[in-house]
């Protein structure tokens, strides 16, 4: 398969998942903010921006609504829903012939709908953001379902699911970090569970008591819940094994495998108490493992897809000559 196509599938998977997860985060944080008795705006804003890795100098002067508005519709802001949807579609557009037309259409319609809503963002009240977030989540689920039922389980599928899984790990880790930051009461953990659609699954397996350590255990380590970090890391591992099966008997072959393996080992083989003791470090470690896996994949499989690298060297070479 062409490197360019593999790369686009990978990123389409990532951006679709990112749009979905960002919508979840915004929905839950906005709801939590509204419901909380006179909750302070500052920590909510700092939490949101911190989780999404947005550096914002003026954060203290803006309102929660404004931040939610920007994270939804600011096309110049990486991580905003509109930019994720746009990039998902950009990536899909370049590989229309390699994906099913239903999938392309779905992503394209999503892009246009988000654009249309964004055009009247100024007149949107907070309640409209809930329907917007819901629409994004539903469109992402639709895309995911169409991919599931129309894509042959070939290498392309593996790159797509790999992107989706890595992104899900990345975003779930950020979400947990967010709960860490703005946590004050038990309810914050319920919000965190809700944003992963995990509240009911959690309640059924832990029977009612929403406690921080158990929620973290569930979101990090549950083997059966499809949005847990462990589950998504395993999915990423499985996709990687399809793409690059181990050749020999010794160790893991690729750098990406090693990065994912490191992330998994950081949580899988530890007691939950031990994880909690150094949670921020572990979250950052997992996040950076995702990032390294992504870079390693680019180096190994996508190199040459972006003309950038060799042309740069080429140009520089000429200049020196």
């Amino acid at each position: 398969m062409l490197s360019r196509i593999a790369e686009s599938l990978f990123w389409m998977g990532r951006y679709l998942e990112r749009a979905d997860d960002t919508a979840r985060i915004l929905d839950v944080e906005l709801h939590r903010f509204l419901e909380g008795p006179g909750l302070d705006q500052g920590p909510v804003i700092r939490g949101l921006l911190g989780a999404l890795g947005v550096d914002e100098v003026a954060a203290s002067r803006t309102s929660v609504y404004e931040v939610v508005g920007r994270l939804s519709f600011d096309a110049a802001l990486p991580g905003s829903i509109i930019s994720s949807v746009t990039y998902a579609r950009e990536n899909g557009r370049g590989i229309r012939e390699s994906i099913s037309s239903e999938l392309w259409e779905c992503v394209n319609v999503t892009y246009h709908s988000v654009g249309a809503i964004s055009a009247r963002a100024d007149s949107m009240g907070p309640h409209d953001y809930f329907s917007f977030a819901r629409m994004v989540r539903e469109r992402a689920a639709l895309a995911s379902g169409i991919a599931e039922t129309t894509m042959p389980r070939d290498e392309g599928w593996s790159f797509f699911t790999l992107g989706r899984s890595i992104e899900r790990v990345d975003m779930t880790v950020r979400l947990i970090g967010l709960a860490e930051v703005v946590r004050g009461s038990r309810r914050d953990w319920m919000a965190t569970l809700r944003s992963c659609s995990a509240l009911e699954a959690y309640l059924r397996s832990y029977g009612g008591a929403v406690e921080g350590s158990k929620v973290l255990e569930f979101l990090l380590l549950d083997r059966l819940f499809p949005r847990s970090v462990h589950f998504s890391l395993s999915a990423a591992e499985a996709a990687l094994a399809e793409i690059a099966p181990s050749a020999g008997r010794i160790g893991t072959t690729g750098e990406a495998q090693r990065a994912i393996g490191r992330a998994k080992a950081a949580i899988e083989l530890r007691e939950i108490g031990e994880i909690l003791d150094s949670l921020p470090e572990i979250l950052i470690l997992i996040e950076s493992a995702c990032s390294s896996a992504s870079t390693a994949l680019a180096r190994r499989f996508f190199r040459g897809a972006g003309l950038e690298s060799w042309r740069h060297e080429d140009v520089r070479g000429k200049a020196h000559a």
Binding site: E7, W11, R14, Y15, R18, L30, H31, L34, E35, G36, P37, G38, L39, D40, V44, R46, G50, A51, G53, V54, D55, P78, Y87, E90, N91, G125, P126, H127, D170, V173, G177, L178, E180, V181, V182, R183, G184, S185, R186, R187, E200, L203, S205, G207, G208, A209, V210, L279, L283, I284, E287, S288, C290, S291, S294, A298, G306, L307, E308, H312
Partner: protein, 534 residues
């Protein structure tokens, strides 16, 4: 611009939000202001959104077999923090009293011996279950959940209208209403701090767990027993099971052997420790009660007696919320707690007493007659709203079966602005606060369910009679700050920025590529067009 409160006319009743001079009461001022700034069209649009969302989510109430979106009025009802403190204390006081009363009448019976309440009133009640005599619940709790109906009369005084200590329903709507209001009318909620209701299922689960038999250990198995999907409160049963993370079972899922209750699972039979049953006593156990019941669990009562399972709420609680017992509750409070009632009763007469009966019959046209053994607003005769023939029938019934009725002074329930068509009109409301008793502590859910009589002038608020509801806000004094919890130190986990794909159209090279691609198209385009023209 015409405002949404224009033409709102406060009637004779006490209005919860608007003073007779048309201004809002102090604790409602911010809300009133925010709502006044919204247009009618906007309200109607949001209401349509609310109905859609309820239907989509299956938040429905079945009315005479028809599934309807749960009727939530968009105007919240606010209770000030000070007033809530009174209601809360009053509710706790009644629940404590009724617990002691139940323990007494299913045990030593001192309250009867001491002449506080007549023997026949207790033992002749169809709600007194001899079969429950001598069963002592593991943590002493019989009333795991109570709903105490509180109304406000025309002079502004709060009074208890009715106690419900069997299976009061409606709490799921409290949570769903809040969720809907948060999402559909966020502006209103952000107008002031409101106490949260979200953690009710946790309190309920705690109470049910602490009621488990001792042998169940630290992780007792709790189930919710529902009559089934055709029950009007089925939504609530499934809601509570889902939110507590426990199984929702029907009678046929349970089996009782050697005085132990099991549920049938794919992994075999699993022992059950606590049954939060939403099935009435009469249908609960065909061995003791109605033998034709197909929705109960035969043998469960013996299992409870053997101490192998806890039935919550306990069998036979009905005698405590019997409408006749109600008339004695103030005396019971003084007797058991040595306290004066925090919340008064509505003035009530007992037709059983011949003197009182004469008084009643003379003033029947002004009073309210309630059947003792009915709930849901069925069979109530409201004097001023009844025809002569209806009153005559009521009088005849009172003479023939005085034990079956109580008669109350008519309370003109307070009103609150309620969306009627496209404007606000006063409608009568009540309040059902919910209390959960875990043995150590009685937790009262802040607020509760405000029920609304949707027809103008009507005083019947029951949802089975087409009543609506309001989100009920208890004003919060505290501001919730995001202080770090003691459990873990706070960590400002600031993540690096998100990974980005090599930008498809931002780099210099990409622009160059794009330009070349476009030039190709441009060069080819005229030829194509030309071709078509030919």
């Amino acid at each position: 611009m015409e405002q949404i409160f224009d033409s709102y006319a406060v009637g004779e009743a006490w209005d919860e939000m608007i003073l007779p001079d048309g201004n809002p009461r102090e604790h409602c001022a911010e809300l009133h202001k925010v709502m006044s700034e919204m247009s009618r069209a906007e309200f109607e649009e949001r209401c349509a959104e609310r109905d859609r969302s309820f239907l989509d989510r299956g938040v429905t109430f079945s009315l005479s077999g028809e599934e309807r979106p749960f009727p939530l009025d968009p105007v919240p009802r606010i209770i000030s923090a000070a007033e809530w403190a009174v209601i809360e204390a009053g509710v706790v006081q009644r629940v404590r009293t009724l617990e002691l009363f139940l323990e007494d009448v299913y045990g030593k019976g001192q309250v009867i011996g001491d002449g506080i309440i007549p023997r026949n009133l207790v033992f002749n009640s169809s709600l007194y279950k001899r079969q429950a005599f001598g069963i002592s619940p593991p943590n002493g709790v019989r009333i795991h959940v109570a709903g105490i109906d509180v109304v406000r009369d025309q002079w502004g005084e709060l009074r208890v209208l009715e106690d419900n200590v069997r299976t009061p329903s409606g709490v799921s709507y409290v949570l769903e209403n809040r969720r809907a209001m948060t999402r559909i009318f966020p502006e209103l909620l952000s107008s002031r701090p409101v106490r949260q209701v979200e953690d009710y299922p946790r309190h309920l689960l705690d109470a049910l767990r602490s009621a488990a038999p001792v042998r169940a250990g630290s992780a007792p198995v709790v189930v919710v027993l529902t009559p089934g999907i055709h029950n009007s409160a089925y939504f609530e049963h499934s809601f509570l099971a889902r939110r507590m993370g426990v199984e929702l079972v029907e009678g046929r899922d349970l089996v009782c052997r050697n005085n132990v209750v099991y549920m049938r699972t794919t992994g075999g039979e699993r022992r059950v420790d606590v049954v939060y049953r939403r099935v009435d006593d009469d249908f609960l156990d065909p061995v003791f009660f109605r033998e034709d019941s197909v929705i109960g669990c035969p043998g469960i009562l013996n299992a409870a007696r053997a101490g192998n399972v806890t039935i919550a709420s306990a069998v036979g609680n009905g005698v405590a919320d019997d409408k006749l017992t109600y008339t004695y509750v103030p005396d019971l409070i003084r007797y058991y707690l040595g306290e004066e009632p925090v919340l008064k009763n509505v003035t009530t007469y007992r037709p059983e007493d011949p003197d009182q009966l004469n008084h009643i019959l003379a003033r029947l046209g002004e009073l309210v007659v309630k059947p003792v053994n009915a709930s849901g607003g069925y069979g109530i005769v409201i004097g001023p709203q009844s025809r002569e023939t209806e009153l005559a029938i009521a009088a005849e019934n009172l003479r023939a079966r005085p034990r079956d009725f109580i008669v109350q002074e008519l309370v003109t329930l307070s009103t609150a602005p309620t969306m009627a068509g496209s404007k606000f009109e006063p409608r009568h409301i009540d309040l059902r606060p919910f209390a959960v008793n875990s043995g150590d502590r009685i937790h009262v859910l802040p607020g509760g369910l405000t029920r609304v009589a949707m027809r103008p002038g009507s005083l019947i608020v029951n949802s089975s009679q087409g009543g609506g509801s309001k989100d009920t806000w208890v004003a919060s004094e505290e501001i919730c700050s995001a202080e770090p919890s003691a459990e873990h130190p706070i960590s400002e986990a600031h993540f690096p920025g998100l990974d980005q794909a090599p930008p498809p159209h931002h780099g210099a090279i990409e622009i160059e590529v794009a330009q070349m691609q476009q030039q190709q198209q441009l060069r080819l385009a005229p030829a194509c067009d030309g071709g078509r023209r030919c």
